[in-house]
Amino acid sequence: MGKAYISDRQFFFLMLGFVVGTALFLVPSAVIEMAGQDAWLAPFIAMLPGIILLSLLLSLHKMYPGNSIVQYSERILGLPGKAVGLLIIWFAFHLGALVLRNIVNFIDVIFLVDTPAAVLYVTITALSAFAVRLGIEVMARALGIALIFILVFFTIIQATAMLFAQYDNLTPVLEHGIMPVARSVIGITSFPAGEIVVFGMVLYHVKESRGVAWYPLAGLVAGLFMLFLSIERSITVLSPAVAARAVYTPLVTINSIPGGQILVTLMAIIWYFFSIIKFMICYYAFVQGASHWAGVSDFRPLVLPAGALMAVFSIYVYESAIDELFFAKSIWPVYAIPLEYGIPLLLWIGALLRKTLAPGKNKTKS
């Protein structure tokens, strides 16, 4: 199998798209509900754990170039590394299924109300399967082109909404102390900042160059900054109380400004674009992880069954919307943070120990 390469600039696009992802619509109402008018602080504080996680991944990438996280976890930890790899594959799979569910829910609730949800699941998964089969190079290049339009749309929406911003809504600062803000930071730390652990399955495609650390970090920071803009827009245009009650807060924001209905289409395109990037990356990470784990030479035959599994699971995963909200708000942080931050930290410490205890061993192996 020929090795796929992406440039570091393409990796920047992937990272930006992934971090914004489904968070663009789901994070604002969640953090505003927790922290009220101070929610805009959360993305900035959550940059720190995100940057630490990304540094761990980049450092591991440097120690084991050309290996994915599933492969080097086996090389670092031996047989238990197989189990750690399985956890990563499970995480990519679970995250992908949840993202697919979010995409379908949004289309189902807002636009195609009469279409059976199963049709949407099948079409979106089939489309993504096509993209994943073509490989990461094609995906990265296509996303790079589309992202330019999306950023223009985003700027148009932001600029229009800011005409109707009431900055009084941002005061008083820290009315209820630091705790609600800390809780919303935990929320953003687990979703979306920590989810970049999935990039352990993509990072090994990046061609070696001097700026390799700079572009991914810029992607993460830019993604979180776009989330900040989205949160700030919701707080200033709506009030925090209204914003916290809406399900898709940015959509309500756009609808509430005069003439904003014209922009709803742009908003929907932005949301769909970002979430489908996130879904494709999770899908790709799942398929690639499964093929590396099983030691299969080519991941392409696994694309379709993996997609079927994800689609079925995303229908099956929750019984009701209440279930979903509770899981996303309370269970997800305590479940995901150990996986997202614990696994790379464990692998990094293991790799360092290996390097210091047996300096010659690694070199002969690679």
Binding site: L302, P305, V312, S330, V334
Partner: protein, 81 residues
């Protein structure tokens, strides 16, 4: 239920027809094993939904395991409802 059954069978049949003959012809048995390892749970859960079977849901398991910790976190931050 009959249409659902037929449609889902059609979907799985398409997946199998697209991939399996090539893998068998090239004698890539490991790939074929991984293929079935992914498709089998998808088929079980797919048909389980058609026939309304009660299959174990991983979400229930995760909720049972992580709920105490989640409640502790919410009460620590004073955001418990």
């Amino acid at each position: 239920m009959v249409t659902k059954f037929l449609l889902i069978t059609l979907a799985y049949a398409i997946i199998i027809i697209l991939e399996v003959p090539r893998l068998v012809a090239q004698k890539r048995w490991k790939d074929l094993g991984a293929f079935w390892l992914l498709l089998a749970p998808a088929m079980i859960y797919g048909y389980g939904m058609v026939f309304d079977l009660k299959l174990p849901n991983p979400t229930d398991f995760l909720e049972a395991v992580f709920k105490p910790a989640a409640m502790k976190m919410e009460s620590f931050f004073g955001t418990a409802k």
